[in-house]
Every structure is written in C-alpha cells, then in structure tokens.
Amino acid sequence: MAPRKVLIVDDSKLLHRMFEMMLRQYPLVHAYDGQEALDRLAENGDVDLVLLDMNMPRMNGLELLKAMKADARFQRIPVVLVTTEGSDEQTQRGLEAGAAEYVKKPFRNEELLAVVQRLTASPAA
C-alpha cells in the first residue's frame, strides 16, 4: 500500500517542523491558513488525512472544515483538529462540523502519532 499523504494546516512554522519530524514516513503537504489549504487540496487529489489548527488567519479551522464537508471532492477526507481550544463546547462544535478526532495542544507526540496511524490505517475514502 502506498504511504498515505497528510495535509498539515497550521500557522505555526514550529508545528510544521515538528510534524515533519514526527511523520517522516508520510508524504506531507503544508498550508499555513484555511484558504491555502483549499488550494493544496485541489492540487493534491490524493490527500488521505488533514491535521488542522483552529486559529489561523484568512480562513480559520472551523471554516475550512465546513468548506471541506460541503465539497464532494474533500468531504470524505478525515480531519483531525489539533488545537489549543480545549473546552468541551469547542470540542463538540468541531466534532459536529465533521472532525474525526480532536487533539489538544500541547500534545504528547505518541498520542498524535497513534491517531494518525489509526486514521491512515482505515481503508482509503
């Protein structure tokens, strides 16, 4: 099976660097806001998973998630919200908008890796 491609959407360069090291076995695509993420998704038709921050300029995580779920091309791609927004209400809002998982920052690396491995092990959409 070909390695699963993961799109990282976060406005923090530090986090992008960290994901590069953590997810070495996955081909990665990078975007720094929601609008850029939509462009990357359109260019890369084979993205299998999206790791998504909530607070970003131009288009935030929740807006991107809603846009993805409204677009037939992207709606089946699982999205993991990786964010500092930690309240139950915010978690619920993210899950209701269609997120597959919710990981709170700061996270333990092995915790996030386990989520990525689980979601990329599922049959491709």
């Binding site: 500092t84 920052k105 333990r108 690396n109």
Partner: protein, 248 residues
C-alpha cells in the same frame, strides 16, 4: 546494545545530557530484554507442563517489560524532538519578529501557555518593556500596562535581578513560571507564564527542559537577530549615501 552519542550532543547542557543518558540506558535495557527473549526461544523444548508454564510466564514478563521500555523510549524521543525543533526554529532566522513569534509558539504550542509576557530591560536599565504578550489585555494585577512591566510581582522581580528560573505556584503572584533570558550571563529580560490552558493542569517535569532551553537560547537568538537587523539597516543607509555622493 550501544548507542553512539555524537560529540556535539555530549556538549549539551546537563538536563539534555541527562535525557540522552536516560535514553541510552533505556535502549540498553531494551536490548538486554530482547537478548533474553531470544535466549528463551533457543532453549531446548520443555519436558513437562509446569516448566512450560514457567517459561511462558517469563516470556510474558519480558514482553511486558519490553513494552514499558518502548513506551519510555518513545516519550524520551518525543521530548528530545521537541527540544531539537524548538532550538532549530529559534536559530532558523535573523528576523527579530520571527524569533519573537517562535518564542510565542513554543510558549503556546509546547508549554500550553494561555497568558504570557516577554519582557526586556530597556537600554538604560530603568524598566522592562513588554516585547510580546498574549492574554494580558485585561490584566487585573496592574503589573503589565502601557507596554511595560511596572514592577512589583515578587518572583518576576527576583528573576529579573538574579537570573534564576522559577516555577510556581508562588505566594502573592499569579505567575506559573518565570524564565530568565540571559546573554553571556547578563539578564536581559524574562518570559513570564501567567496562565496555562484549562486542559493543561500544571507544568510537567519535562516542561522544565523546554524552559531551560528558552532561558539559554531565546535571548541569544533574539539578540543576534536584533544586531543583524541594526547592522543591515546601517549598511543600507551607508549604501544609499554612497550612491547619492556618486551621483552628485
């Protein structure tokens, strides 16, 4: 099993050297357990049920110990990776604004700081200005107003004076941690963590390593970036002057 530690890593500060030594010891123990599993697999077949059960128990215990060691190894690798990425990113640019953003990103994304302030002594040493902050717009303590730290928060004042890293809780202060920023032994400022996110109850022991890293690297990275920025600006001014003189 032996793990060679590169010379550069051997010269790291004591806490990272400790983490490396711990990692090396874990790898050695994992190697010993693997060896023991291999040996038990190569033993002659058992002759009775009791012996078979004993061997099975041994193997199960070894497997559990190995799993625990593996989990420890993964945690230590994660910690070292965070330290590496934070250091790398602090020194990856000579733009003062980007260095400050990186300090903020470390505070928020790796330490879980919801409210914090980055202070620097003014050139004349009279007071500290707030170079960067988050969540202190409605500061009720009155310490952080008008873009400067007024003084009066005991652990902050102490760290700005003696350059010692302090972790709360403190009596009479809302600060969670006060991290000195030093350049060549001189205290040039401090990072004050005032509140953690609700889902992060307290700073963990491994966070201490990140705080030490900020203390050691953040100020020097920012200092180098500011010096470069000033020098570059002066150079451009001089070049413009030379052009003017040539034209004249």
């Amino acid at each position: 099993m032996t793990v060679r530690v590169p010379q550069q890593m051997k010269q790291q500060p004591p806490r990272r050297a400790d983490a490396l030594a711990e990692l090396q010891a874990t790898l050695m123990r994992a190697g010993e357990l693997l060896h023991s599993l291999e040996q038990s697999a190569s033993r002659p077949p058992p002759t009775n049920m009791a012996e078979l059960e004993d061997r099975l128990n041994d193997v199960v215990q070894d497997r559990d110990a190995l799993s625990r060691r593996l989990a420890e190894y993964e945690q230590q690798t994660g910690r070292l990776m965070n330290l590496y990425v934070a250091t790398y990113q602090l020194h990856a640019t000579l733009d003062p604004g980007e260095v400050q953003s990186t300090i903020a990103e470390i505070a928020v994304n790796l330490l879980g700081a919801e409210r914090f302030a980055l202070l620097f002594w003014k050139g004349d040493g009279s007071e500290c200005e707030i170079a960067l902050a988050q969540g202190i717009e409605n500061d009720e303590t009155g310490y952080y107003r008008g873009g400067r730290y007024a003084g009066g928060d005991p652990p902050v004042d102490a760290t700005l004076t003696d350059g010692v890293l302090r972790m709360g809780p403190f009596d009479g202060s809302a600060a969670v941690a006060v991290v000195p920023l030093t350049v060549q032994g001189a205290v040039v400022g401090a990072l004050i963590i005032l509140k953690l996110f609700e889902h992060k109850a307290m700073l963990r022991p491994e966070d201490r390593e990140l705080l030490d890293l900020i203390a050691a690297h953040a100020a020097s990275a920012l200092f180098a970036a500011r010096v470069y920025h000033q020098t570059d600006r002066k150079l451009k001014t001089l070049e413009s002057l030379i052009q003017l003189v040539k034209r004249g």
